[in-house]
Symmetry: C2
């Protein structure tokens, strides 16, 4: 298809598509004459992924470039790929060199060990979790393992559901997209549902409904 | 206490504290002489909340001002307060006037009705959820009620746990802080745990561990 059709079908302007090509997020089309290029279904799928990462994941172009590079690196299996994509997604929390942070990070590492979870020691989510521990402690709401239990269970259930679905579909670009989508979009699904559920629970507990 | 002690105990610089006073996030101290002001425990608690909202919730000053105004409005019960705080937190998704969006928003409203959840029709989380539906459909992963079930269950369990805890402690500023903390910080706890659990699930499903 030509770039105008690619624009129609992706919902992105020709200008935006050209920007993504210049930024290295989208491969050039195949030359089909002096001024025309031909684009395929792969281009469209890639554009849809970029759009979702941009609009809903709210990720900067540089992070998307790293994610796409991880997806493209054909040598990696789905597990490595997920790790690479998660590393690219970040967020990379700046870790100050202070004893509260070190203690929180040790708590996170102990928790992961205790749960028996197989997770890279460099996973950015470890620092993300440590940051919440520091903030909760500072606010006077130190987190305990009992407090964490419902969240751990929810996280494990969701992850099992998501990865199980991808594993059944077999490997391939589409499965990897599905996993990225799970990570980013379903986290937003959950955030939105959590807020709705909180309002409902508050209504039942406080208004005597 | 004087501003220097407030600074020590909150971990914020005197400059930052003065900025928050100018921005109306923190009440002035009580005058105690021509150039001195006296601050109390309420100031410290407020500063800790602001710091958490800024650093972990990553919220702009204007959103924090709206949240604090909601918390201060003594007339509201915990349910109204939670609604007001959630409204202030946003995010306020810009809703384009197009049929895909309208359909997604109708799906969200139907879901909330079906679940029997008591939620304001203006809750920003409705549009947040609708946005993920639009993005997932566009990516070729339309969401079904079956896909949503584990997320709905996780969200409801967490909300029940959080609101139940606050309800037991009785109303009061601290309970409201606890609920805000739940909304913002525990969502990040869950995001981090979700990513760790995904990596673990991928390791078990794909690497034959």
């Amino acid at each position: 298809m030509q770039i105008s059709e690619l624009s129609d079908r992706s919902g992105l302007t020709v200008q935006t598509i050209k920007f993504y090509i210049r930024e290295g997020l989208l491969p050039r089309g195949t030359a089909a004459g002096a001024t025309r290029a031909e684009y395929g279904a792969g281009h469209l799928e890639r554009l849809r992924l970029i759009r979702a990462l941009r609009e809903v994941g709210d990720l900067p172009v540089a992070a998307i470039r790293r994610i796409l590079a991880a997806v493209e690196d054909g040598g990696a299996g789905p597990h490595e790929l997920l790790g690479a994509a998660q590393h690219a997604i970040g967020p990379h929390v700046a870790v100050p060199d202070d004893p509260h942070w070190r203690a929180a990070r040790e708590d996170v590492d102990a928790l992961v060990r205790e749960l028996g979870w197989q997770v890279s020691p460099h996973a950015p989510a470890r620092d993300l979790l440590a940051r919440t521990f520091v903030a909760l402690r500072r606010l006077g709401f130190p987190i305990t393992l009992t407090d964490l239990r419902p969240y751990v269970r929810a996280a494990a259930d969701m992850a099992e559901h998501e990865v199980g679905r991808v594993a059944r579909d077999g490997p391939g670009t589409r499965s990897v997209h599905a996993l990225l989508v799970s990570t980013l979009l379903y986290e937003q699904v959950l955030t939105a549902l959590h807020r709705l559920a909180q309002e409902d629970a508050a209504s039942r507990h406080f208004d005597g409904n």
